[in-house]
């Protein structure tokens, strides 16, 4: 073998070893690009054996040249022909079988890595084990191991590649000499000895993690503390900590899975010139785990060398290592398990952005490079932030380049349910560094955004929610139908700004991505995009908040931008006193108006009753008819413009607007007891007489029942209706008997009823256990004689039999004497002079001696009826049913009847006292749970609507005539003297039939009337009647976005606070489901709300 360097033969040797052996040649220093040749000069075959030369590598200094790595050529030839570049070809062969030279340029130093062997030895004859270290067949060193404790032997090496064979060969084994191999390490790879041998393929890199140790040192004698880092016994780092400020030292370590043993050792403690050398370890971290020296479970094992690991002299763990020793720990589970969203922007300098570092309790848990001048979100890992955690986030590379100062601007931090802004109380913010104790959770509320989107390119609309500028969350809206997206927000208060931001508008393949926001539900109420104080600020990024391109919105977001809401002052729901007032007014009036509710809430129900009772009576019914009559004969009976409907029209007008509500409500209840119905064709021409009948009832509705009874008895309308007008006495000659009609009904319906009653309205039973009939047909016949001799009140001089029997008032304009508005008169000679016996055999027995006058008999008979003990309970129970409860308890009836019997001043029949007793009774004010309540009769439903919604008549005439035809109660057109429904009605096949609960209004409830009510409610909510609701107060609330207030108003005025949460939600949804933000869509929302409030089955029940 001949070796040349730069053409100079530096040596030749005959190689006789079949095994690789080293041949050393002196040479001038080899420099890169030095020409190096190794030639075989004596190829040949002897005895069939071919002579050959294998050149494994050439090594000089820290450079190795291996044919197998390529870059050499083989120049065939003998002698100098081996170097003539003739017959030369690149090769990777290292076996030379023909004469020629392997030729190459000397490479640059390539043993740039180090290979460290950790080993200890026992010496023999003062000679340690001598080991040869081979890497990929290259002997990178031959060393004697002399340390008796594990020590590192470091050799330069070519970079060791995975799969290359690494071998440590012990060359001088001898008794007493011993070699202990621990591991080899190079670069980011280590290899443990197996069975005290190292001879294996080099593994893949396994020091793949980077462990950061933050530390500083006290230098002594110019030397800093040496910090050795060991993981699972492998020394992965050994540095001198020269920084006196905390600095980061990084070590390649195996993946720091939990359970690994970490030792950080301070190995060169010492005092030089009185200066103590110390090491201060702040923390170590890698991946998602941060380790603090002082943490529980750590040990500080003092000692030098192996003593640092011997378990002796262990003290409390501390990063302040003032003694030599090791901080020993077991690597924990990841604890940087949380993230904090940091919104920040930067002013870069010199093309370098701001390095933003997040420190938590002194640990830099994460960092990010901020380059954008627009606020951007950085999701930074952190240990879980606890209230009180010291949080610092800020720039860690401040500086000025070319006059530009590098800056970092922190917007805010959000993590979990907590956010932190530079303005959070206790925070300091200066020079791009925000420092604060982490606050207690402050995203304690949530808002729910109901939205849907058009998805484009498979991506939904990104909805970002900001509260007072803080992005509290972002969600992708993918649902094509309205869906709820819930996000945590800080506690909201009036004035809080909520922005719903759409950030990723785009069109993909012709599909435009859009976001449609229906509403935002907050704890302070619902926010709707169509409200007048909501703006849509279009634009991407900050342009969504710049106040430019601003418009009103219906919630549709076709472009990027922000829907900007302001949390309003919460709707004050009506207080208990208002609710109670409203409830009281449902019973005591034709329905609460906002003003009445305030009045009753202010002065109380009792004082309000006093006010009402004191109001003077106003005979408006006759006036209403008279004002039409005054228009001429066309408006009088028989005229083309005449109608009886003027009376119910006036009724509606008064119910809606008249201040004497108690009187009116009592009057309508008494009308239903003392029934005269315009449905009777006999009254078709008697609108004015009928108006007088209604006035009569109203006049005495808070007066005395005895007076009312007589007034009604002598009312011409009643006379016509129950046919006792012109009632003639019996005739012995013709056999004619007086008309029994009024006689029967005045007992059955107007005073005593069919059965004898106890004082509490319960039925008396006779000896046979059966109810006792309170009168007989004989009583009817006797009473029929009493009510003879009465007819129209013509002037006293004209009261002849002929006039009695045949003359009707002339109602023409020319001849009208208003006879029909006067009480009937007794006509001489037309009254039955027979003796009349009532209630024979009973305590109430009365005898009217023969020859009595019409007036005296009437007085006696009405006194007898009025004083019958049945009247109190009989009338009281019905009045309770009409005002308060369909099935009052007997005790309630008894209490009211007692007041009827004696108002406390010895007066019987005081209806004002009765009304007060009914309305202020505990069963009215606080009904027991078992109370059935009362189904609102249709008239009450409509009247209630008129008052609560301040309805007005388009025509001014309140022409509600046919509107209630389909729902079974057209006021003043009852089917018969038995009224619109019976007080004793118990609907068959219902829960009520099981226990005989009376629910009168159910008698007009059927498949048709229930459906018609919904239809009427729809018209009442719309504009279908002559009388229309004032929608403006509701519409104003809608346009302000105060939908809860709409519901609360309806709840107060129509439901007296009893509206169910389900219905409230339904009404809310109904309003929300109306699209658009025009005035007409606001009106539609109010109408939909009112419609549901009126049409819902809940409204039908008054409690």
């Amino acid at each position: 073998m001949v070796t040349r360097v730069d053409g100079i033969v530096v040596g030749s040797a005959a190689i006789s070893s079949a095994d690789p052996a080293d041949f050393v040649f002196a040479s001038s220093p080899l420099a890169a690009d030095s020409r190096v040749d190794v030639a075989l000069a004596n190829a040949g075959t002897v005895d069939g054996q071919a002579r050959s030369l294998r050149v494994h590598y050439l090594m000089s200094g820290t450079t190795v040249l291996q044919p197998s790595t390529g870059g050499m050529s083989f120049d065939a030839g003998n002698g100098l022909a081996a170097f003539d570049s003739v017959n030369a070809a690149p090769t990777t062969q290292n076996l030379l079988t023909a004469n020629g030279a392997l030729r190459s340029k000397w490479p640059a130093a390539n043993m740039t890595d180090t290979f460290t062997l950790r080993a200890s030895a026992r010496l023999a004859a003062n000679v340690g084990p001598i080991v040869k270290v081979l890497v990929d067949g290259v002997v990178i060193g031959t060393v004697e191991v002399r340390s008796t404790t594990p020590a590192d032997i470091t050799l330069p090496t070519l970079p060791v590649k995975p799969g290359q064979r690494v071998e440590v060969v012990y060359t001088n084994a001898e008794a007493g000499r011993d070699l202990q191999l621990a591991y080899a390490i190079s670069g980011k790879t280590f290899l443990r000895a197996t069975d005290n041998a190292l001879a294996a393929a080099w593994p893949e890199a396994n020091l793949t993690d980077s462990l950061l140790v933050r530390a500083r040192g006290d230098l002594a004698g110019g030397v800093g503390p040496t910090m050795q880092v060991t993981v699972d016994g492998i020394l992965v780092g050994n540095v001198e900590v020269r920084s006196t400020e905390h600095a980061d030292y990084r070590f390649a370590v195996p993946a720091m899975t939990p359970g690994r043993k970490l030792d950080i050792a301070f190995v060169n403690d010492g005092v030089v010139n009185g200066v103590d050398r110390n090491l201060y370890v702040a923390y170590a971290t890698t991946g998602n785990t941060v380790w603090l020296p002082g943490a529980a479970g750590n040990r500080y094992d003092r000692g030098s060398g192996v003593a640092a690991f011997d378990g002796q002299d262990v003290v409390a763990p501390s990063g302040n290592m003032v003694w030599g020793g090791a901080l020993r720990t077991t690597w924990s589970e990841p604890n940087i398990t949380s993230t904090v969203n940091v919104r920040a922007s930067a002013v870069p300098a010199g093309g370098v952005g701001a390095l933003m570092t997040l420190w938590v309790d002194g640990v830099a848990v994460s960092a990010a490079n901020v380059t954008s001048s627009a606020p951007t979100d950085f999701v930074m890992p952190t240990t879980p932030l606890k209230p009180g955690s010291k949080v610092v986030v800020g720039i860690s590379n401040p500086g000025t380049v070319d006059g530009t100062e590098r800056q970092l601007n922190i917007g805010y931090l959000v993590s979990g349910s907590t956010f932190l802004t530079p303005t959070t109380q206790g925070a300091t913010y200066a020079a791009g560094v925000l420092s604060a104790a982490w606050p207690a959770a402050n995203l304690t509320e949530s808002v729910t955004v109901r939205a849907y989107a058009t998805v484009a390119g498979g991506v939904g609309a990104m909805l970002q929610l900001r509260v007072d500028g803080v992005i509290v969350g972002t969600v992708e809206v993918r649902s094509a139908t309205p869906a709820d997206y819930k996000l945590a927000v800080p506690k909201l208060s009036a004035g809080s700004r909520i922005d719903v931001v759409y950030t990723n508008d785009a069109a993909v393949n012709g599909v435009d991505r859009n976001l449609f926001v229906q509403h935002v539900q907050t704890s302070n109420g619902i926010l709707v995009p169509f409200a007048s104080n909501v703006t849509l600020d279009e634009g991407a990024g900050e342009a969504a908040f710049d106040g430019a391109t601003v418009s009103a919105s219906s919630g549709a977001m076709h472009r990027n931008g922000a829907l900007r809401f302001t949390v309003p002052v919460a709707t004050a729901s009506a207080g208990a006193s208002e609710m109670a007032a409203s409830r009281f007014l449902q019973q005591a009036s034709f329905g609460p108006t906002p003003e009445d509710v305030q009045r009753v809430a202010q002065i109380g129900a009792s004082a309000w009753l006093d006010e009402q009772i004191a109001l003077p009576f106003n005979a408006d019914m006759v006036d209403a008819v008279q004002s039409r009559f005054a228009l001429g004969d066309a408006y009088r009976p028989g005229g083309t413009n005449y109608t009886t409907a003027w009376v119910p029209q006036r009724f509606w007008a008064s119910a809606a607007t008249s201040p004497d509500q108690l009187r009116r409500r009592m009057g309508f209840a008494l009308h239903q007891i003392l029934m005269v119905s315009l449905a009777d064709s006999s009254l078709a021409f008697h609108a004015r007489a009928y108006a007088k009948y209604v006035d009569d009832i109203n006049r005495h509705a808070l007066g005395n029942y005895r007076t009312l009874l007589e007034t009604i008895t002598l009312s011409p309308a009643m006379g016509v209706y129950l046919s006792h007008i012109r009632n003639r006495p019996e005739s012995a000659t013709s056999g004619r008997m007086p008309d029994e009609n009024f006689a029967r009904e005045v007992m059955q319906l107007f005073t005593i009823g069919l059965h004898e009653l106890n004082a509490d309205g319960s039925l008396k039973t006779g000896a046979n256990g059966q109810p006792v009939e309170s009168y007989t047909n004989e009583d009817v016949m006797a009473l029929s004689k009493v009510f003879t001799g009465w007819s129209w009140a013509f002037p006293d001089g004209e009261l002849t039999e002929s006039v009695f029997r045949y003359r009707s008032p002339d109602l023409s304009a020319a001849a009208d004497q208003r006879i029909d508005t006067l009480p009937m008169k007794a006509y001489p000679g037309q009254h039955s002079t027979a003796e009349k016996r009532l209630f024979s055999g009973k305590p109430q027995a009365v005898v009217m001696a023969a020859g009595g006058s019409a007036q005296s008999d009437l007085k006696t008979a009405l006194d007898a009826l009025f004083n019958h003990p049945n009247v109190g309970p009989f009338i009281s129970r019905q009045l309770i049913q009409h005002l308060v409860s369909s099935h009052p308890s007997n005790a309630y009836v008894g209490r009211v009847a007692a007041v009827f019997n004696n108002n406390g001043k010895g007066v019987r029949g005081d209806l004002a006292a009765v009304a007060r007793a009914i309305l202020l009774d505990s069963e009215a004010v606080n009904p027991p749970a078992t109370s059935v309540g009362k189904l609102r009769e249709p008239v009450a439903r409509v009247a209630h609507w008129m008052r609560s919604l301040q309805a007005t008549s388009k025509s001014g005439q309140y022409t509600i005539v046919y509107d209630l035809d389909g729902i079974g109660q057209k006021p003043f057109y009852a089917g018969s003297v038995f009224g619109y429904f019976r007080p004793g009605y118990v609907p068959p096949n219902t829960v009520f039939s099981a226990d005989s609960t009376t629910v009168p209004e159910m008698q007009i409830v059927n498949e048709a009337t229930t459906a018609q009510w919904v239809n009427l409610a729809q018209r009442m909510a719309g504009d279908g009647l002559d009388v229309t609701a004032q929608m403006q107060p509701l519409t104003d609330l809608v346009s302000l976005g105060k939908l809860e207030a709409v519901i609360e108003r309806l709840n107060l005025l129509l439901y007296a606070g009893r509206m169910s949460s389900t219905l409230k939600q339904d009404i809310m949804d109904a309003m929300l489901s109306v699209s658009g933000n025009t005035a007409s869509s606001h009106l539609n929302r109010a109408r939909a709300a009112l419609f549901l409030a009126l049409a819902s089955p809940e409204y039908l029940v008054q409690r």
Binding site: G735, W1013, N1015, Q1018, L1092, P1097
Partner: protein, 478 residues
């Protein structure tokens, strides 16, 4: 006195049905299998046992005259003695002899003859054609009694002469407060024959106890057909997409509020049924009501097609005509007319009432014949009570027994059933002022009608608990 209605056998069969239903369906809390849902009722009907003969199609129509019709003037003796008695007792309320048209056969004693006012001519023609019969002096009775018993007050129905109570008694055999009527109790037994049990008892004129059974509830059809609430379930109410559905949910929701629950239940029943009925009615073709002029007292003349009774009957005809579409075999209907409480102005008002009733019935029969259903439907009249023979000078007062009509192709007509009383005061049937002591109980008339509808003797007694107290009723049908 009031006897609570009991129908033990019927109750047992329904309770059996309930217990077998219980495994699959919720039972309303009050324990009765109510018509809370059509499906539930249909299931119940299909499981209730019945023995009634329910082949073919049959319908019974009650034409109820509110107020107590003065039937003394509807059928008037025309033989010399009879008319003289009549005229004497009635005074100014007597119909002029020349205003009466003769009945050619009556089946009453020899020598007696009867006529009907000209205003009732259409009804008389049906009678003469053998399609109408008269049932004489029928009224509520607990058991047959004589005048002496009446005067002693024994065996009397409760609350005689009281409108509401006697109306209830005619319809249910009990005074006001009765929970079921005999029409409804018949329907209880018959509803299992029907594919749509909800339409077994149908009212065209408001709630009436007649049509309530112990399990059947009346179905109310409006005069123009089933009434729909247009907003219920609508996709847009005032522009709201959700309000209609919300309202529908509200009416379907359960609540502990009993009134609200019952109200909603009626609504629910109506909504479900109206859809079915509306669809069925769209296929029927019932002749229109003729615009025959009907004089009206105290107001302008009108025509039959404008009047409620004829319109109600037309609605009933439509439901009847839809019987095959709906799968109905047995139905009970009720129509009503008011104004019969003629205490005064009787002679003014009665002719118009008669004309309206007679012409409405004529229209009804004509239309039935056109539909080919004249033999499948029987109509009968009823009213609170008859009236006094005696005049009060301008009208009559509350009475008791009265004469009624049974009309239909199946009726053995041209005959007066029962004993037509002597129309005079002081007779054995006059309990005072010419108030008639009934000689036929309502139960007897009802039993005959129930028999035609297919109820056997046992079932008739379930429906009419006091039937056994009477002798055989009128054999009105072949």
């Amino acid at each position: 006195m009031t006897r609570p209605y009991r129908a033990d056998a019927s109750r047992r069969s329904f309770l059996r049905a309930v217990s077998s239903l219980a495994a699959t369906a919720a039972i309303p809390q009050h324990g009765l299998p109510l018509a809370s849902s059509l499906a539930g009722l249909a299931a119940l009907a299909s499981q209730s046992s019945h023995a009634a003969t329910t082949g073919g199609y049959k319908a019974l129509v009650c034409l109820y005259m509110n107020g107590g019709s003065d039937s003394h003037n509807w059928v008037v003796p025309t033989d010399a003695t009879g008319y003289a008695d009549y005229a004497k007792a009635r005074g100014e309320l007597a119909w002029a002899a020349n205003g009466l048209q003769p009945l050619s056969m009556t089946g009453q004693a020899a020598g007696r003859s009867f006529g009907m006012p000209t205003e009732l001519s259409p009804l008389r023609e049906l009678y003469e054609a053998g399609q109408a019969a008269i049932v004489a002096n029928v009224g509520p009775l607990v058991r047959p009694i004589n005048k002496a018993e009446y005067l002693l007050g024994t065996g009397l129905p409760a609350k005689l002469y009281s409108h509401n109570d006697q109306a209830s008694t005619w319809q249910s055999l009990s005074p006001e407060g009765a929970r079921s009527g005999w029409g409804g109790r018949m329907a209880d037994i018959l509803m299992s024959a029907n594919a749509q049990p909800v339409f077994t008892a149908v009212s065209a004129s408001g709630n009436a106890v007649f049509l309530s059974g112990t399990s059947v509830s009346q179905y109310q059809v409006g005069p123009e057909g089933p009434v729909a609430a247009s907003a219920m379930g609508s996709g847009s109410v005032f522009g709201s997409a959700s309000a209609g559905a919300a309202l529908q949910r509200a009416y379907a929701a359960q609540t502990t509020d009993r009134l609200q629950m019952e109200y909603a239940r009626v609504m629910q029943r109506g909504m479900t049924a109206s859809t079915t009925l509306q669809a069925a009615l769209s296929n029927v073709n019932v002749p229109a009501i003729p615009s025959t002029a009907i004089a009206q007292p105290n107001s302008v003349a009108t025509t039959l097609d404008k009047l409620s009774l004829a319109r109600q009957l037309r609605m009933v005809l439509q439901v009847i005509a839809a019987n095959q579409t709906l799968g109905m075999r047995r139905q009970v209907f009720m129509v009503q007319m008011g104004g019969f409480d003629t205490h005064n102005n009787q002679m003014r008002d009665q002719p118009a009432q008669m004309a309206q009733v007679a012409q409405s019935i004529q229209y009804f029969m004509t239309a039935l014949t056109a539909l080919g259903l004249q033999n499948n439907v029987t109509l009968f009249t009823a009213s609170d009570f008859g009236r006094t023979l005696l005049s009060n000078g301008d009208g009559s007062d509350h009475g008791w027994g009265s004469h009624h009509f049974v009309v239909g192709g199946a009726v053995k007509g041209k005959k007066i059933y029962g004993d037509f009383p002597v129309t005079a005061l002081g007779t054995s049937t006059d309990v005072g002022s010419g108030r008639l002591l009934p000689t036929l109980g309502v139960s007897q008339l009802a039993g005959s009608l129930a028999g035609w509808m297919g109820l056997n003797a046992t079932e008739q007694q379930m429906v009419l608990p006091n039937l056994a107290s009477f002798g055989a009723g009128p054999s009105l049908f072949a």
